[in-house]
Amino acid sequence: MAPSHRRQYWRTNLRYLGILLSIWFVVSYGFGILLVDQLDTIRVGGFKLGFWFAQQGSIYVFVVLIFVYVRLMNRLDKRYDVDEDT
């Protein structure tokens, strides 16, 4: 595979990582820790929102993030012809 092709593949991967890890940071460290008191003024049912993110929401988002990455990378691997299904 040509080096420029390789670099492009890697750069796209790094872009995905940047976006997904930003979301990872915002829901846990952001909503669950740094902004928790501000979010706690909002209520959803019996939960204060900050408390919910800290003890529930962040975990659900983590799961979704991994499967989004799996899908993105499976597509990317195919597009750059570096997948393992040959």
Partner: protein, 568 residues
């Protein structure tokens, strides 16, 4: 049937199951012994990883910790799940492509240095041994409470079982036993949680239940009731935070990064057939873990509400049976300070003195009794706790035996050892490790219990940065990696030692560096490791061409194939 008969039955059945699975799936080669032949389905591997990962601490202690810490307990919830995002995105696929057997394998090869390999082996052994001693202790506690076996005999029985299937089956046996153990432990965790959620809120799903209104028709939200009860009795409101934000931040980060750096977790991703499978396997692992981790805070809130509600101002003669039976084990202590014959359970802000001390570890084990669930549910929890402790102990023992037989013997001391010889060495090492772990389980050095949580800080400060840099920066040199690992683990270890062993009286927020507790210091150690590794790499000569090509190769999934030995 009474609780004890049920416990004997369920624990006996689950042990028979584990042994049966171990015999069916025993290992015949080093490849099978270390990484189950590299052919484990990603969902199966995810389930095994979940059991491997969730230890006695997750099953027995965590909900109890949260019940007493309130919102601050979320450091464990986020810290012990968020690391899987790092694993899936930054580590697992590349290590799988690299395709060897262990973490020191990667460190040694990527940094073209047997010094780096040996440093990594020492870090791996240190982290794993502190961790495994805690598991054996957990086994002992469950045995002594539910089966009336002496705590030491409990440890012996646990050692025997683990010895049998870890030594016989290696990674292959452990993987399939862990799948069985996951099923037992998650069933044992969810059944009482659903029961209690139904009792207290009428909602079956605990995750929704603890945000619902109480079932008593008052229309009050459970968490509001809990906040009110807490304040009344002189505690802080349950949903409010008490720890400093910077410390919460640091602890969460240390646990997350530590998770992604724990050798017994990383090694599981060598066992799947493809790079794509390593990515999705981390996702499945988190799904199975999240099932327990999203239930735990609900269990914590239910237990806390029940606890505050049932033993406040009750005459001592009329306390529920669970109170006295745990009192007998010394894990609940009651002293009638004001001599009024009533039980006063009070927080630090109350006028009346507190008369009850409750050990956090009993919350999950006592919860079914507190909520008056049937005997078989109580027994089920005991079987689940054992499954959690045994599965983690087995995974750790495998890392220890692999580190010794493979990383030290085969790759450093005696490279010409035959496959047969290496397999025998691995089994002997596993056997010796079981005995040592059992010794520490029976005679826990004072610091073990504390060090278990701190093992994460050490893993965060040693492995994580050099693995990440090894993949994402071709310029990182062996000098950089060794300097980074050594300073990271020394700084973190020294800080922990200073506050936990040398000067425990100074272990308060006023004396901490930047207000970061020993539990969170691994985050700082990790940053120091990164900074030093990058800095030193700048001023030393770049890695050889062949290493840079190897890194290029790791970044591309195609060609992962079967895990191979060196030079192949």
């Amino acid at each position: 049937m009474n609780v004890q008969a049920w416990t004997f039955t369920l624990v006996g059945l689950s042990f028979a199951l584990y042994i049966g699975v171990a015999i069916w799936s025993r290992a015949r080669s080093t490849g099978e012994f270390y990484i189950a032949g590299g052919r484990v389905h990603p969902v199966i591997n995810g389930m095994a990883t979940a059991a491997d990962w969730m230890s006695a601490a997750s099953f027995i202690s965590m909900a109890g910790l949260i019940a007493f810490m309130g919102r601050d307990g979320s450091v464990y919830l986020m810290g012990w799940t968020g690391g899987y995002v790092l694993l899936a995105l930054l580590l697992a696929p590349y290590l799988r492509k690299f395709g060897k057997f262990t973490v020191p394998d990667f460190v040694g090869d990527r940094y073209y240095s047997s010094v780096a390999r040996v440093v990594a082996v020492v870090c791996a052994l240190f982290v794993s041994f502190t961790y495994v001693a805690g598991q054996m202790r957990g086994v002992g506690i469950v045995f002594s409470r539910f089966l009336n076996v002496d705590i030491n005999h409990g440890v012996f029985i646990g050692m025997g079982i683990v010895f049998f299937y870890a030594v016989l089956g290696g990674m292959k046996g452990i993987t399939y036993t862990q799948v069985a153990q996951y099923c037992v432990l998650i069933f044992a965790y969810l059944v009482p949680a659903i029961f209690i959620s139904l009792l207290m809120t009428g909602v079956a799903l605990p995750q929704l239940g603890f945000g619902s209104t109480l079932a008593d028709g008052s229309g009050v939200f459970l968490l509001d009731k809990l906040d009110g009860l807490s304040r009344e009795l002189g505690f802080d409101a349950y949903t409010s935070g008490r720890r400093a934000t910077i410390d919460v931040f640091a602890i969460t980060a240390a646990l997350m990064v530590g998770t992604a750096g724990l050798p017994h977790v990383i090694v599981r991703f060598y066992t799947v057939p493809k790079v794509a499978a390593a990515r999705s396997s981390a996702g499945w692992a988190l799904v199975f873990i999240a099932l327990l981790y999203t239930t735990a805070p609900a269990v914590a809130a239910f237990a806390r509400t029940n606890l505050l509600g049932t033993i406040a101002e009750v005459p001592y003669e009329e306390v529920p049976e669970w109170f006295t039976s745990w009192e007998a084990t010394g894990l609940i202590q009651y002293q009638d300070l004001n001599g009024d014959g009533l039980v006063q359970y009070r927080g630090p802000n109350a006028e009346l003195a507190n008369e009850v001390e409750i050990d956090r570890d009993i919350i999950v084990l006592a919860n079914p009794e507190i909520a008056r669930l049937p005997n078989w549910v109580v027994a089920l929890v005991a079987a689940g706790g054992l499954a959690a402790a045994l599965s983690t102990a087995a995974g750790l023992l495998l890392v220890i035996s692999t580190s010794i037989a493979h990383d030290l013997l085969k790759r450093t001391i005696k490279p010409d050892i035959s496959e047969r010889g290496e397999l025998i060495a691995a089994r002997v090492a596993a056997g010796v490790a079981v005995v040592i772990a059992g010794y520490f389980g029976i005679n826990p050095p004072g610091f073990v219990a504390q060090v278990v949580a701190l093992a994460f800080g050490l893993a965060a400060a040693s492995f994580f940065p050099v693995i990440i840099l090894g993949i994402f920066s071709k310029r990182t040199t062996k000098e950089g990696a060794i300097a980074g690992m050594v300073t990271g683990i020394m700084f973190t270890g020294a800080y922990i030692l200073y506050f936990k062993s040398l000067h425990p009286e100074l272990n308060t927020a006023d004396h901490w560096f930047l207000g970061i507790s020993p539990e969170g210091i691994g985050t700082l150690g990790m940053m120091i490791n990164f900074a030093i590794a990058i800095g030193v790499s700048r001023i030393t000569s770049p890695p050889p061409e062949s290493i840079q090509r190897m890194v290029e190769e790791i970044r591309i999934p195609r060609g992962a194939g079967e895990p191979r030995e060196i030079g192949a």
